[in-house]
C-alpha cells in the first residue's frame, strides 16, 4: 500500500507524542496516505477533518514562541536581581552622601514609587512568560491530540481494508463455510470502520474544543496586566524648572526649601 511507510513509522514510535513527531516529519507522505485511502468509506472524512485540525494548530514558528517565553523569563530574572541585589546598596550609597532634608525625602518618595513599578514590571514579565508557555503547550496538545486521532483512524482504515481483502479472498474460494466466514469478516470490518469513525470523531471534537478553551484561558487574564496604576511615570523632562511651575521634582526642592525651610539649613542662596 502506497504511503504505508508513514503509517508504519508512526506506529513504530508508539501511539504517543513520539508517533506524532514522526507524523510531523513525514507530513507529505502522511497526506499522500490519506489521499490513497479516500475510498475507504466513512472513516476518510473524520481522518481528513482531524488532519486539517492538526495542520491548522501547527504553530507557524514554534521557536519564536519559545524565544519569547525565554525573553519574558529573563526579564523577570534580571529585574529580580536588580531589586534584590542592586537596589538597596545603590540607594543607600546615595542616601549616605546626602543627609535627610526636604529634598532627600522627595528623592526617597520618588525612588519608592520607581521601586514599586520595578516590582510590577517584574511580576508582569513572569505572568507574560507563564501565559506564553501555557498557550504554547495547549497548542501542542491540540496538535498531538489531532495527530493521534489521525493515527488511530489510519490504523483502523488500513486494518479493516486488509480484513476486507482477506474476507473477499475467502469468499472467492467458493467453499461454502469459508465463503460464509469471509462474508462475516467483510461485514464486521465495514461496521468497525463506521462505528469507530464516529467515536473517534467525537473524541477529536472534544479534545480540540477543550484545548482551544485552555488556550483562551491561558491568555485571557493578560489584559489585567495593563492598567493606569501599572506605569512608570511619563517623561516630563522638567529638570530645568525651579519647582514654581507646579511640577515639583526632587532637585527642585533644594531651591524651594532654601527659603521655605531655613531651619533645615537651606539658608544659603
Amino acid at each position: 500500500m502506497a504511503g504505508e511507510e508513514a503509517f508504519t513509522g508512526a506506529v513504530a514510535g508508539g501511539t504517543t507524542i513520539g508517533a506524532m513527531k514522526l507524523l510531523g516529519t513525514y507530513g507529505p507522505k502522511w497526506a499522500a496516505t490519506l489521499a490513497k485511502i479516500e475510498l475507504a468509506g466513512t472513516l476518510a472524512k473524520p481522518a481528513a477533518g482531524a488532519a486539517a485540525i492538526w495542520l491548522l494548530a501547527q504553530p507557524g514558528d514554534d521557536q519564536a514562541i519559545t524565544a519569547a517565553f525565554n525573553d519574558w523569563r529573563t526579564i523577570n530574572t534580571k529585574l529580580t536581581y536588580l531589586r534584590i541585589q542592586e537596589w538597596g546598596k545603590t540607594i543607600q550609597a546615595v542616601q549616605a552622601a546626602w543627609p535627610e532634608g526636604e529634598d532627600r525625602k522627595a528623592f526617597d518618595r520618588f525612588m519608592g514609587i520607581v521601586f514599586q513599578e520595578v516590582q510590577q514590571l517584574e511580576s508582569a514579565a513572569a505572568r507574560m512568560a507563564d501565559a506564553v508557555q501555557d498557550a504554547q503547550s495547549e497548542i501542542h496538545k491540540i496538535v498531538n491530540n489531532a495527530g493521534l486521532i489521525v493515527d488511530s483512524l489510519l490504523g483502523i482504515i488500513i486494518a479493516s481494508e486488509i480484513v476486507q481483502l482477506i474476507g473477499k479472498q475467502m469468499m472467492a474460494t467458493g467453499v461454502p463455510p469459508v465463503v460464509a466466514q469471509g462474508a462475516t469478516l467483510v461485514a464486521a470490518a465495514k461496521a468497525t470502520q463506521e462505528s469507530s469513525g464516529l467515536l473517534l470523531m467525537g473524541a477529536t471534537v472534544n479534545a480540540i474544543a477543550g484545548a482551544t478553551v485552555a488556550v483562551i484561558l491561558s491568555m485571557g487574564n493578560l489584559t489585567a496586566l495593563m492598567g493606569a496604576d501599572n506605569q512608570f511615570p511619563l517623561p516630563q523632562a522638567n529638570l530645568d524648572s525651579d519647582g514654581t511651575d507646579g511640577k515639583t521634582d526632587f532637585d527642585d526642592i533644594v531651591r524651594k526649601s532654601a527659603t521655605r525651610s531655613p531651619g533645615e539649613g537651606w539658608s544659603y542662596t
Partner: protein, 129 residues
C-alpha cells in the same frame, strides 16, 4: 548648611547609573523582541492568542522602555542636585576667600555642569517627581 558629601553623592550617582542602566536597557531590548505574529501561533492559536498577547506585550515593552527613561531621569536629577550643592560649596569657599578650594571647586563644578548636560542632552528623561 546641610553637610552634603558632594563628591560621594556624585560617585553614588554614577554608580546608580552603572548598576541600573544596563539592566533597564537589556530588558527593554528583550521586551521589544517578544513580538509574535498570529501566524507564529498557528491558525487555531492565532485569533485567541494574538488578541490578548499583542496588547499586553506592547504595554510591557513600553513599561520597559519607560524604565530606561526613568533611570536617565534619576541620573540627571541627582547630577542636578550635585551641581546645586557644589555651587553652594563654591559660594562658601569664595566667602571664606579660600583660593585653593575655590579653584578646585570651580573645576569640579565645570565638570558637574558638563556631566549634567551630557545626561540630559538628546534624552527623553523620566520625571523626578
Amino acid at each position: 548648611m546641610v553637610d552634603v558629601n558632594t563628591e560621594a553623592l556624585k560617585a553614588a550617582t554614577q554608580n546608580l547609573l552603572r548598576a541600573f542602566r544596563p539592566i533597564a536597557e537589556q530588558i527593554s531590548t528583550m521586551a521589544e523582541n517578544t513580538q509574535l505574529s498570529p501566524y507564529q501561533w498557528g491558525a487555531i492559536g492565532a485569533a485567541t492568542v494574538a488578541r490578548n498577547y499583542a496588547p499586553s506585550r506592547d504595554y510591557q515593552a513600553k513599561q520597559a522602555a519607560d524604565f530606561v527613561k526613568c533611570v536617565d531621569g534619576i541620573n540627571a536629577g541627582l547630577l542636578s542636585v550635585v551641581r546645586h550643592y557644589r555651587e553652594a560649596e563654591l559660594a562658601t569657599a569664595i566667602r571664606a576667600q579660600d583660593t585653593l578650594k575655590t579653584t578646585d571647586l570651580q573645576n569640579k563644578l565645570a565638570l558637574d555642569v558638563a556631566d549634567l548636560e551630557k545626561a540630559t542632552k538628546g534624552k527623553a528623561l523620566g520625571p523626578t517627581d
